[in-house]
């Protein structure tokens, strides 16, 4: 399945950016392929599903503004070596879920600004690097005002001679009291690959709940033993475990026809490990 087939079937709608308001058809996911400069202004409280696909190497910038009470679900799929910067600006009581899959040597950064109270931001990202790729996911979540919640969950798998990199920052401004922020990062390093992880917190308010964690591990020997004990070959057990590690993130996709496409690309990518 390709995105073009989905467009042809009418399962998704093409989108070139601009304002999304009550007159925009948001009954189906809006799709953008290979943007150079994309600016989206969401001014409706209807749930909006947006998908961005990167299939060509280029530099790209995406800016999405969520007005009060806007709900956006953004899926980003990187299939080419892209240098991309995504900036999200959220006004009061808006909610944004980002699912990002970096399936190549792309360098992606997310800057999420929580500018109005009672916003929620959730980000699930996975990077799979093979060969000599360098895949980067950077996430900066900025709690500029009080009473917002954010969660980011980033996983990287690196195999071969590749590098998987995670850079995380949660910033909590002096007045951003009652912030609830969580940032988690899990990595698996296979063969001679390398993981670089730099999780950071910058907190200037005192009444906050912030948790973060980052781990780098190899394949889980206990899980491999368990699966082999049930008759799976070592190769199958390793493949299933890595697939599971990645699927744990990909499974959180909320944009139906895009999820199926993402699943296929993930399986293809994992076959390179």
């Amino acid at each position: 399945m390709t995105i073009f087939e989905l467009l042809e079937q009418g399962a998704v709608l093409p989108f070139a950016g601009g304002v999304i308001d009550s007159s925009t058809d948001v009954s189906r996911p809006l799709v953008v392929v290979n943007p150079t400069r994309l600016s989206v202004d969401v001014r409706t409280s209807e749930p909006v599903h947006l998908a961005v696909l990167y299939t060509e190497s280029r530099t790209s910038s995406v800016e999405i503004t969520l007005a009060e009470q806007a709900h956006v679900s953004l899926v980003e799929i990187y299939l080419a070596k892209t240098l991309s910067a995504v900036e999200i600006r959220q006004q009061r009581a808006s909610e944004c879920h980002i699912l990002s899959a970096v399936l190549c040597g792309a360098n992606t950064s997310y800057k999420i600004g929580l500018l109005g109270d009672h916003c929620a931001s959730e980000l699930d990202a996975v990077a799979v690097a093979t060969g000599d790729e360098h895949a980067t996911v950077a996430v900066e979540t900025r709690h500029e005002v009080a009473d917002c919640r954010s969660r980011s969950w980033v996983k990287c798998v690196a195999s071969g001679r590749s590098t998987g990199e995670f850079r995380g920052l949660v910033y909590v401004a002096p007045d951003a009291q009652r912030t609830d922020a969580e940032q988690q990062n899990r990595n698996i390093e296979l063969d001679g690959a390398r993981i670089v992880a730099t999780p950071q917190l910058e907190i200037y308010a005192d009444d906050v709940r912030c948790s973060h964690g980052s781990t780098v591990g190899y394949a889980d020997a206990e899980a491999i033993f368990y699966m082999r004990q049930r008759g799976l070959s070592e190769a199958d057990a390793r493949r299933l475990q890595i697939e599971g590690f990645v699927r744990d993130v990909v499974g959180r996709c909320r944009t139906a026809p895009i999820c199926a496409l993402l699943d296929e690309r993930v399986v293809e990518k994992l076959s390179e490990i």
């Binding site: 082999r228 799976l232 070959s233 199958d236 299933l240 599971g244």
Partner: protein, 250 residues
């Protein structure tokens, strides 16, 4: 079926199994008991092929073949099943997907065709009923978010799916409430036949009320120091291990 002769195994410099000999024949149920740290779980892991331990001497054959030269998965495909004391959670790997590969590997070894999707689903339904495992759990990730009881039921469910020749159940009863214990134990009993065998490792006699053993062995400091019939388990329950250990010390 399984013949173990003077098996020694170590982890690092520490010898944990210090000369185990055991013979299990088709149709038999063996119980292995013993105080904590006597080597019961190590014995189970070594027989299953865990590379955490090094076999330093002795021999073991399974179905007439040299067990120790077989890989973990070869042992499994030939019909050896280890029910884990602590079943492992594998996030993102669905029970169905995992079991499908496992069942078809076992079938391939037996020279049988892989199951069709419909046959596999039917088998899953039928076998999950053996241990009253909620069928919703089989569509979840392996053991993830399962309660202690569900994990143990899930072990016996997998045992039912794979139809092993020899099942070694490592403290399958630990952490189970009375109802779960009955369900798990009844499941194991229902799977017992004249052409297969079961080894249960347990601390408690109560499991053996359901799974009646032909032989009870007491493992202490890496050796089987005493073997008897099911009455031995009852005596151990009443009197503890001291009388045996003292005997052994003299």
């Amino acid at each position: 079926m399984l013949v173990v002769k003077d098996l020694h195994a170590s982890v690092g410099d520490k010898e944990i199994l210090r000369g185990i000999s055991l013979e299990v024949k088709a149709g038999e149920v063996h119980a292995i008991m013993g105080p904590n740290g006597s080597g019961k779980s190590t014995l189970a892991s070594v027989l299953a092929g865990s590379d955490k331990f090094t076999v330093t001497s002795g021999e073991a054959t399974f179905m007439g073949e040299d067990l120790l030269s077989l890989s973990i998965e070869e042992r499994a495909r030939k019909g050896m099943f280890l029910g884990f004391q602590y079943p492992v959670e594998i996030p993102g790997v669905s029970m169905a997907n995992f079991m499908k590969i496992a069942v078809n590997e076992r079938r391939k070894y037996r020279g049988e065709e892989p199951l069709t999707a419909a046959e596999f689903l039917r088998l899953m339904r039928e076998k999950s009923a053996v241990v009253e495992l909620d069928s919703k759990l089989t569509s979840r990730a392996v053991n993830e978010g399962f309660s202690g009881g569900e994990k143990k039921k899930n072990e016996i469910f997998q045992m039912a799916m794979l139809d092993p020749t020899l099942a070694i159940l490592d403290e399958t009863d630990s952490g189970l409430d009375i109802d779960a214990l009955r369900i798990v134990a009844t499941g194991v009993t229902r799977l017992h036949r004249e052409d297969n065998a079961t080894v249960v490792i347990t601390h408690y006699q109560r499991l053996l009320d359901y799974i009646v053993p032909d032989f009870v062995h007491v493992l202490y400091k890496g050796r089987i120091i005493y073997s008897g019939d099911k009455s031995l388990a009852l005596r151990l329950e009443k009197e503890g291990y001291d009388w045996l250990i003292n005997d052994y010390k003299e």
